[in-house]
Subunit: 387 residues, 2 copies
């Protein structure tokens, strides 16, 4: 039920010693074809890790044979030496697998600003190559974890073809993309340009709508690999639907496992003039520390929702503040910008999921952005990460 579920893929995950804990930290995913079609999207952060710079070039021709991923170090802000480390990693994988380095993507995650221990990484690649197996997906999913408490995998079945996937990410989750590495595989037959379009559309409405802590990473990478091993030529719409479902499933798992969170919060904005306006307003709410701390305290503090809504510039989202309604878990606590039902009717303690609905009464567009509450454990985990 992961990257090796579709036909034509092998994977492995091994412990190379990059993590001081001794947990698995090097993963390899190999596409045995017959097709080696690939697409990828990367962080929109202007500070881009070496593996992002490398992989962006390597995937440009739409052909990828393998993806090597490591946890235990992001290889970000490591200068020309860091880029050389990534390049050498790709060359070593290519040598072991007998392919071109230009067909190897590299993904790294962990602390920024530290060089990777290349000896350990090379040995890890050798071990991973030796362990490659058609049922190696779960081991690979485990090897890319950082502060994740569980591996994230997904599977969507088509008619004679399928989509599988794995992802990591538990903090620094913000759009463009969430801080995450993700590999999605399919045995459907698809052309490179179609794969690219499918992946971009899917990430736009899934990973890009997860905003756990508003912090955008330097290493985010989502890769789609197609082996074509099913021999089934799938309609682009059908493939788009399956890939979007796979990405949505993984995105929800990221939110559910976000560092220190005790609530998953879906902020849905309706009645917006455009989808972009709805996203902007929803994102303003998901970035309000005050509101997110209130949710942690099981306090349906709708005034903090409205205060966040009001920070969106009028040129981004046109609406009249006096017409805005807010419901929390179905209780309309704010009506027309003022007091609605008693906030005491909202019980946030009852469930992990919280649904906030904001109606702008300014159009027909809507969007949902997912976030988490702001908790003591978030502060704890993120104040102790690099030390």
């Amino acid at each position: 039920m992961t990257v090796t579920a579709p036909r034509g893929f092998r994977a492995a995950g091994v412990a190379a010693g990059l993590k001081s804990s001794g947990a698995p930290d090097v993963a390899l995913v190999v596409n045995d074809g017959p097709l080696q079609v690939a697409a990828a999207v990367f962080t929109s952060n202007r500070v881009q890790a070496a593996p992002v710079l490398w992989s962006r070039q390597a995937v440009a021709d739409g052909v990828v044979h393998a993806v090597v991923l490591n946890s235990g170090g992001a290889n970000a802000c490591t200068g020309p030496e860091g880029f050389l480390d990534t390049h050498r990693t790709a060359e070593h994988v290519a040598e072991v697998l007998g392919c071109s380095a230009g067909d190897v993507l590299v993904c790294s995650t962990g602390l920024i600003g530290e060089r990777l221990p290349m000896d350990l990484l090379r040995t890890g690649v050798d071990a991973a190559a030796g362990a490659l197996a058609a049922d190696g997906g779960p081991a690979a999913a485990r090897a890319i974890m950082t502060t994740d408490s569980v591996p994230k995998t997904t599977y969507v079945e088509g008619d004679g073809w399928s989509v599988g996937g794995m992802a990591k990410g538990a903090g620094m989750l913000a759009p463009g993309l969430a801080t995450m590495l993700c590999v999605v595989t399919t045995d459907a037959v698809v052309a490179a340009d179609a794969a690219d379009a499918v992946l971009r559309d899917a990430t736009r409405v899934t990973f890009d709508r997860v905003d756990s802590d508003g912090c955008m990473s330097t290493n985010d990478t989502v890769v789609l690999l197609s082996s074509g091993a099913s021999g089934v030529e799938v309609e682009p719409a059908a493939l788009a639907d399956a890939v979007t479902r796979a990405c949505a499933d993984l995105a929800r798992q990221l939110v559910a496992d976000a560092e220190g969170a005790s609530h998953d919060v879906a902020v849905t904005v309706r009645g917006a003039g455009t989808e972009e306006a709805a996203v902007a307003v929803a994102r303003a709410v998901t970035r309000s520390n005050l509101f997110k701390a209130a949710v942690f305290g099981n306090d349906p503090n709708w005034g903090r929702v409205l205060a966040a809504v009001g920070t969106v510039p009028v040129e981004v989202a046109a609406f009249d503040a006096d017409r805005v309604d807010v419901s929390i878990n179905g209780v309309q606590v704010c009506r027309a910008g003022g007091v609605g039902e008693p906030r005491e009717l909202v019980d946030l303690a009852a469930a992990r999921e919280v649904h906030v609905e904001v109606d702008l009464h300014a159009g027909d567009a809507s969007a949902t952005v997912w976030t988490n509450d702001l908790t003591h454990d978030y502060v704890h985990e993120n104040s102790a990460y690099s030390t």
Copy 2:
């Protein structure tokens, strides 16, 4: 050393029962002239509390006789009834003082979405009017506190004239403005349009550069009152300097008292193409929960600084990520986008103040934005505020 330090002002602060704690919650500041010149700036939030809507109109003619302020309730998101409450408060103050309601500003702070108990407020106004005194500034400063642990006051002496001030604010501190109420007084002789220009320039580089938690309030108000009682006609530049120093002093006190903070963090961006670009980059860093949690953990995690810098769009701030330097407390931990001095050389535990310097190497402009670390206590205070 507060609003009653300049000549021509009386003030009072009383307990009216708006706060369940019984602490003082109604303040009155009266300008006895001979001038009654005033200017004010307000929150840029599109959701504006009733007292903001009222006061914006009342100050438009540049004449203000009195400012009434209450803690214990923001009177925000309270609809037409809330606006009527503000209007009645101004009329009641006007009646008691024998002036026009249109010359009375109203400021409120506290929980959003609850009506004010008007009977208590009216009785409080009567008591405050009876207690007005030329040394009443400290009592007024105390009556506007919410989660503030100390009152904030300031005093700047000129040549035969002076500037005094008080402010409240300890959370929801973000630009446009910080969540705060502030009254600055002067006995300098100044025209209304000059007062307005002076106040706008001062707030732009002081309160608007405090960003404790990225949350912009619905009630922020900064008022400047001139009595002209010194008889000294002050050069606009000299008055601007004094008002800016008063606002800067109060802004620093807000940061120093921010909810739950254990560090005050100054983020200075140098080498920017424009001041606006420098502010945008500094603000991105001050809004990174990950970086702020790291500071709480005394972890000089410069990768999180760089990751935040990289989120600023190129059209907002042009720079090359490979040229960015970052220093923390004088140690250049990041050089040219890569590893600099060892992070172990930075000792964050030694002092409350943390200085982050980012050099973009893209121009000559610079700016500093102040924030705090993200702590357990911040989460605690803001998860329990309204319950």
